[in-house]
Subunit: 305 residues, 2 copies
């Protein structure tokens, strides 16, 4: 069992979906992914919060055995996102975004934290991602997330950090944007040439595809009777993925595949509640039950041809 | 091993995709699905062709051990479709459609053909589908395909034939159109209440989902390096599905799941050639090789949680 460092946004979100709305609920990529990773392994969470950040949120994170020493309280407001989803919930529409203390975030890692072997860099500015990596003494496995914004405006820095990355998590649109390849399989292979030996393409309700060295693997998404809020699904996936990996502390195709499945399983909870509520409430018993159902759903019998 | 009766269009297609074009190539739902089913079991193919239909096409079908006694030659032209696909090949655009002899098609089944146990009704007018079923003495398993056109203009007749159907094959849009349910899982369950105990939702490049009595199953699509022409993928899927089923001559969840996989495997060939070319050339050795690769790609290891 190894420790994971997770760096990303910690936010308050106000969001509306066809199924309801919540105001100023705890969110942010680092929050979702840390809660998810903490199901499997010890987590150090890193990111800035403002004066308005409630102490009870930090207490909740600590109850999940998340080390919050690197969650720094800065003068100003916590990152704030206000947005909504339309009927099919395929796209998040931003109404307001206030970077707050995140605008001047300057990651500073000292002592034992620099030796954490597993690192997840959520989709923040690639220069910040590089900055973090440069402070780590011996990262064993680095997982990187990014988004269209960074591909569009900071591609050079992103290509730099990709070279130091073991695995990148993208969606199909980001794959196209980064590589110019329209075809997903070719795009994923083009990404592997940019640095990361392994690529995960998230396909939302269609699951996640893993591209390794000489193998490809698909884990379908968990079929869900209802979805109320898709916010944080990708972050949860990535957090559970690296958490599972760090727990096994072994990088093999088999472990990577299982980590993808763990990512899909845990993410299926996030979307069934608003904000971080349902991922924070997730129990191992519930997860095991869903895993058993998932295996029935996705197991592929041998066909006699 | 049981026989399958397949009723549907036999056509000449002129089509253009980003990868090339072909003029007046053999196509039609009955053609694709019969070629696919014939990989597994004896097939009787039924549908009308015109004076222009080449004898060599019939010879090719017979070489695949397809019984063409119910392929009737009528005065007039063979069903003709001209269309094209744009970059992502998600949608077939029709340029010209000429029903030809299909306009007056009046299915007439006599003798032993009426006792064939497995029946696939491709997406023709629901009144024709009913007409065929009424002539069968003891169909053991009836698989039905349909399309948005029939849902829109002949829903009443379609609901009638659905009641006599064991399994219906639809896509997500057709599911919504037929049931009014936006949510795929709820839509599939609503379809089950209309007659067919089992529902397959085809999701194109994302695979096919099987909804049985008390279970759900997903078979991902075969990941393909290239696709040149999506025409006939759904018909191939359905043909291979019922062919596999008829070969086993046993309806269990396990056999249904394997039949879905067989459908995905065989359909993956159709899209890699223009028209029926590649499905007609498919060998068992090639299919077995692809099946082995597919199992590596889609097999879900047990996760330790």
């Amino acid at each position: 069992m190894s420790e994971v460092l997770i760096v990303g946004s910690i936010a308050y979100d106000s969001l509306k979906t066809p199924y309801g709305s919540v105001a100023k609920t705890l969110g942010g990529a680092a929050t979702y992914s840390s809660l998810a990773a903490s199901l499997f392994t010890p987590v150090r969470m890193m990111g800035p919060v403002g004066d308005d950040f409630k102490e009870t949120e930090l207490q909740m994170l600590r109850r999940h055995k998340i080390n919050t020493d690197l969650v720094t309280r800065e003068k100003g407001k916590t990152f704030y996102w206000k947005g909504y989803y339309e009927d099919d919930m395929a796209l998040a529409h931003t109404v307001k975004i206030d970077l707050g203390v995140f605008e001047t975030f300057n990651p500073h890692i000292t002592g034992k934290a620099r030796t954490v072997p597993y690192v997840f860099l959520a989709a923040i500015h690639p220069e910040l991602q590089l900055n973090v990596l440069n402070q780590m003494t011996k990262p064993k496995y680095v997982v990187l997330d990014t988004r269209d914004l960074w591909i569009n405006i900071t591609k050079k820095a992103l290509l730099k950090v990709l070279k130091k990355t073991d695995l990148v998590v993208v969606n199909d649109q980001e794959t196209r944007l980064l590589t110019g390849e329209m075809h997903l399989l070719k795009g994923a292979r083009a990404l592997q040439k940019l640095g990361p030996k392994t690529v995960i393409v998230k396909k939302g309700e269609h699951g996640a595809m893993l591209f390794g060295q000489g193998y490809t693997f698909l884990s379908p998404a968990v079929p869900l009777d209802y979805v109320v809020d898709p916010t944080g699904a990708g972050d949860t996936f990535a957090g559970a993925f690296i958490g599972y990996l760090a727990k096994q502390n072994k990088i093999t195709p088999d472990v990577l595949k299982k980590a993808v499945i763990a990512g899909n399983l845990v993410a299926s909870y996030t979307v069934q509640g608003f904000g971080t509520k349902s991922i924070a409430a997730l129990t191992r018993a519930s997860l095991r039950k869903r895993a058993a159902e998932y295996h029935k759903f996705a197991s592929i019998p041998k066909v006699n041809l």
